[in-house]
């Protein structure tokens, strides 16, 4: 029986349901110290002095470590702009300024609160507009001295962290030829990941090496970042991964780990750290707030002659991966909908706010919101039905995206429009007073970054996959990778185990991000399993005295095709081979090749291609309460292409969970800034969707096997969050007969709009 397309039990379900699963936040070690960070209480200012005395008076506090005691260089994923501890100036509220080391957690946290930090505040650069204003204060006066990874030219200039410019130079001509111009400016807030397990670290230092135990989405990046911060070789750092209580992108980079490692070396004792609830917010790499202005030159026949896009996104006080994410508009605009030409200008800017970063569907939700609101606006201006206009504008297979990459399977979207229409006919959907329907489509990537797996045949005929791929909750490791190995080896899924991450014990893995695990690591496993299988067949062919090509493996038994009685079990093969040829194991690596593209299409582009794309169409049907302005999502439909569905129930779970996060972004979640400081300080204040807020999501999963994927699988987990806000905003705009240009859609804004239209 095939292991694929069924929904076997997750390998971690039993332990998680019994409360037995050990997460990072559950870890402790004999003799460990605790440490906590003192953070800047202001968004910007000159750091004059740090007085440790009030902290040192607390029972159990051992030391207050400041910038003078730690490495003085700056580091970063792309731009080396981030100090380990602020030395001369602070650039955001929450920036670490000192570390308090103590014998207990309570003492460490009390100490961190007691450190007297003397800062002369300056007026913060609070918004991207302020950062770009002429004569704006520079967030980092010495920005020009920061190194950039690989020496890449990313268009840095003052408060501009990165600039990506795609400009074919023919926009003026196109706009001159237009019958009319449609434009809109779309504003979106930050979004907080709100993973439940706080960030933590447990570090030890023994015999010249650091070991970091953690719950982290990307152990190898963590290893490299800790090494970069401490100025040691990556091989001097070992990262051991434990169960992860949610991440959604927030656990992809270093946070507390380097501090804990430094102290572990300083004290030769294990050191444990963990964010408080407030620190979780202050130090979260939220989805960036952004302003997206879109203008299109349109001909009366519906041809979009040109689209001109100007984007400003808020990097916060440090660059993080904002420069890389600034490439993503290149894959959203002028992509799945045809435009003759486009100019796309993206700037990512420094402000005196907490650094933004990676959140599931990086930049996608607000970019697709702008693109799909704009499509509705053009359809309205043309007097065309919005679905019909989308279908008429849809790209054809072979059309090029703005980076010159061919859209090979974009016709999948036509199928999606049909499938959604079959489930809820467009003509009748959202009909009625203050009811509306909206659609949003997207093409999303499967992250291509490298992975490795070793597959070993155990001596009892079962198999173990050795990899540092991380199980972030999606099931990609706990079921998906096991199913792929089982299918490739002729085993049942429950006969395959997968190791936990350990950078000493496995090949490089680029972490749980961008839906890559099933596709990239799954492919490595499929390749390694093919090698294991071939060694098994060689051995079995000797045992059965039959040619290897005549053998089949089913349900853990190797038999001669057509002669089921001539068989040996995989256990017998493994036993035999172990003592004759030696144990069977094989490793394989995979990186998705960068798709063909035009390297000169834009300046500053760090993400050059859109590998292993998947296709998505969402439809939201809403009703609006005329009295309260409250929006109810009556029906929500997702049609998503996944290559091949390995574990259908897990995919459904990703779709429902992704839509819930998207609905939060669309309707209720807030991360507001007031003079650079976060307004929301607790979970409740963010307006996260609760069980009663989220409708049942209807999911249609389309399969178009990818020849490069393991058994055809592409990525599936990340993109369900991407089109949601766009679909909902289009539906609300339809319901109230007025545009929605900012998120979240607040009841008071809905009421205002209703008042204006009536």
């Amino acid at each position: 029986m095939s292991a694929l397309g069924t929904s076997p039990e997750r390998s971690d379900a039993d332990a998680k349901l019994r409360g037995q699963a050990v997460y990072g936040a559950d870890l402790s070690k004999t003799g460990m110290l605790w440490a906590a960070l003192a953070r800047s209480p202001v968004a910007a200012g000159h750091l004059r002095a740090i007085d440790p005395v009030p902290a040192l008076r607390i029972d159990g506090v051992l030391e207050v470590v400041t910038a003078a005691d730690v490495p003085d260089w700056r580091t970063g994923v792309i731009v080396s702009d981030t100090p380990m501890l602020a030395a001369d100036y602070v650039a955001y509220e929450g920036e670490p300024v000192a570390i308090v080391v103590a014998e207990s957690r309570a003492a460490a946290e009390a100490g961190a609160r007691s450190v007297a930090v003397d800062i002369e505040p300056v007026e913060p650069v609070s918004t991207p507009e302020q950062a770009l204003a002429p004569g704006a204060r520079l967030v980092h006066p010495e920005w020009n001295r920061f190194a950039v990874a690989g020496g890449a030219d990313i268009g840095r200039n003052g408060n501009v962290v990165a600039e990506v410019v795609h400009d074919p130079g023919d926009l003026d001509e196109a706009f001159a030829a237009a019958d009319f111009v449609v434009e809109g400016t779309y504003r979106t807030l930050r979004q907080y990941q709100a993973h439940l397990e706080p960030k933590m670290a447990l570090a030890t230092y023994e015999s010249g090496r650091y070991t970091i135990e953690v719950s982290h989405q990307y152990p190898f990046r963590l290893r490299d970042r800790v090494a970069q911060i401490l100025g040691v070789a990556p091989s001097a750092v070992r990262v051991v991964g434990h169960h992860i209580g949610g991440g959604f992108g927030a656990k992809l980079d270093v946070s507390l780990e380097a501090f804990a490692a430094l102290l572990a070396q300083r004290y030769r004792r294990p050191v444990r750290m963990q964010h408080t609830a407030l620190e979780e917010r202050l130090a979260a790499p939220c989805r960036a707030n952004a302003i997206t202005a879109v203008r299109s030159a349109v001909r009366r026949d519906g041809t979009i002659l040109a689209t001109d896009v100007e984007i400003v996104s808020d990097s916060g006080a440090y660059a993080n991966n904002g420069p890389a994410l600034s490439s993503i508009p290149m894959f959203v605009f002028g992509s799945i909908y045809r435009v003759d030409t486009a100019r796309i200008w993206t700037r990512n800017v420094y402000t005196n706010t907490a650094p933004t970063g990676a959140y599931r569907g990086v930049n996608g939700p607000w970019l697709v919101f702008a693109n799909e609101r704009h499509m509705d606006a053009i359809a309205d201006a043309l007097g065309r039905d919005r679905r019909e206009f989308r279908l008429a504008s849809l790209a054809r297979d072979g059309d090029l995206m703005r980076n010159g990459q061919p859209l090979e399977q974009v016709s999948i979207l036509r199928e999606a429009f049909d499938r959604v229409d079959d489930l809820s006919g467009w003509q009748d959907a959202g009909a009625g007073e203050l009811r509306g329907v909206g659609q949003a489509a997207a093409i999303w990537l499967t992250n291509p970054m490298p992975g490795h797996a070793t597959v070993k045949l155990n001596e009892d005929g079962t198999a173990t996959v050795i990899t540092s791929a991380t199980e972030n909750g999606s099931g990609a490791v706990a079921t998906g990778l096991r199913q792929i190995a089982a299918e490739a080896l002729g085993l049942a899924t429950d006969q395959v185990t997968v190791t936990m991450p350990d950078t000493d014990a496995t090949g490089y893995d680029a972490g749980s991000q961008g839906s890559r695990t099933t596709h990239v690591v799954g492919r490595a496993i499929a390749d390694a399993s093919a090698e294991v299988r071939s060694q098994v067949l060689d051995q079995a062919s000797q045992m059965l005295e039959a040619a290897a090509e005549d053998l089949v493996i089913t349900d853990g038994v190797v038999s001669v095709a057509g002669v089921p009685t001539a068989s040996v079990t995989l256990g017998q093969v493994a036993q035999s081979v172990t003592w004759t040829e030696g144990p069977i194991a094989a490793g394989a690596s995979y990186v998705t090749p960068t798709p063909p593209h035009d390297p000169l299409c834009a300046t500053g582009m760090l993400i050059k291609g859109w590998p292993t794309p998947t296709y998505h169409l969402h439809q939201a049907e809403v009703s609006v309460d005329a009295v309260t302005g409250h929006v109810t999502v009556d029906r929500y439909i997702v049609c998503q292409e996944v290559g091949r569905a390995i574990h259908p129930d897990a995919i459904t779970g990703q779709i429902q969970g992704g839509v819930a996060q998207g609905l939060g972004f669309a309707l209720s979640e807030r991360v507001d800034l007031d003079h650079g400081r976060y307004v929301q300080r607790t979970f409740k204040q963010h307006g996260l969707p609760l069980a009663a807020d989220v409708p049942r999501v209807e999911a249609i999963v389309m399969e178009h096997a990818d020849p490069a994927g393991p058994f055809g699988a592409k990525g599936a987990a990340e993109p369900p969050v991407v089109p949601v806000a766009a679909a909902v905003a289009n539906a609300v705009a339809d319901a109230i007969g007025a545009p929605i240009d900012s998120l979240p859609i607040r009841p008071e804004d809905v009421l205002d709009a209703l008042e204006r239209t009536q």
Partner: protein, 163 residues
């Protein structure tokens, strides 16, 4: 000011998962800290620390409470049940089995609290509707699942128990 010198310990006698304990808790110590740090029961999860997310939920005398904001001292003489006490070392409960069948576990960090709330609900209401299940979960944040598979698991478990 020296911290914790003037604080007084309190003696707490409580029954946790059918085992009686007598222990000295710090004044102001939360039940969550007692369970996790003194009794080694790390099933109840530490998350928001503010009683807002539900990951730390345990049953006190059968009713769900946020153990991260409940003083351990206030549970003197009471019976506490944690996620570890649901199945013990035996088979998973009907509810837990339904979670497996419905793929209702993802990262799993909210799961212990969600299970306690739903266990209490199913003890009170034999066949809750979907809406009742969703209402019961008003204090539990799950960022992974979108709640649907959790709700389906609860309804299915109730049906399985009733039949």
């Amino acid at each position: 000011m020296p911290a914790s010198r003037s604080e007084q310990n309190v003696t707490v006698r409580l029954v946790v998962n059918d085992r009686a304990h007598e222990l000295e808790a710090d004044a102001g110590e939360t039940l969550l800290a007692t369970l996790r740090d003194r009794l080694g029961l790390t099933g109840p999860k530490e998350a928001c620390g503010e009683g807002e997310c539900g990951a730390c939920t345990v049953l006190v005398d059968g009713g769900p409470v946020a153990s991260c904001i409940l003083a351990a001292g206030s549970t003197n003489g009471r019976a506490v049940r944690t996620v570890e006490g649901l199945a013990g070392a035996g088979d998973l409960t009907t509810l837990q089995q339904a979670f497996v069948r419905h793929a209702a576990v993802q990262c799993g960090y909210c799961t212990p609290g969600v299970l306690m709330v739903l266990t209490a609900l199913l003890e009170k209401v034999s066949e809750p509707t979907e809406a009742e299940v969703r209402q019961a979960l008003a204090g539990n944040i799950c960022r992974c699942t979108g709640y649907q598979q959790i709700v389906e698991a609860a309804v299915d478990a109730a049906r399985a128990v009733a039949s």
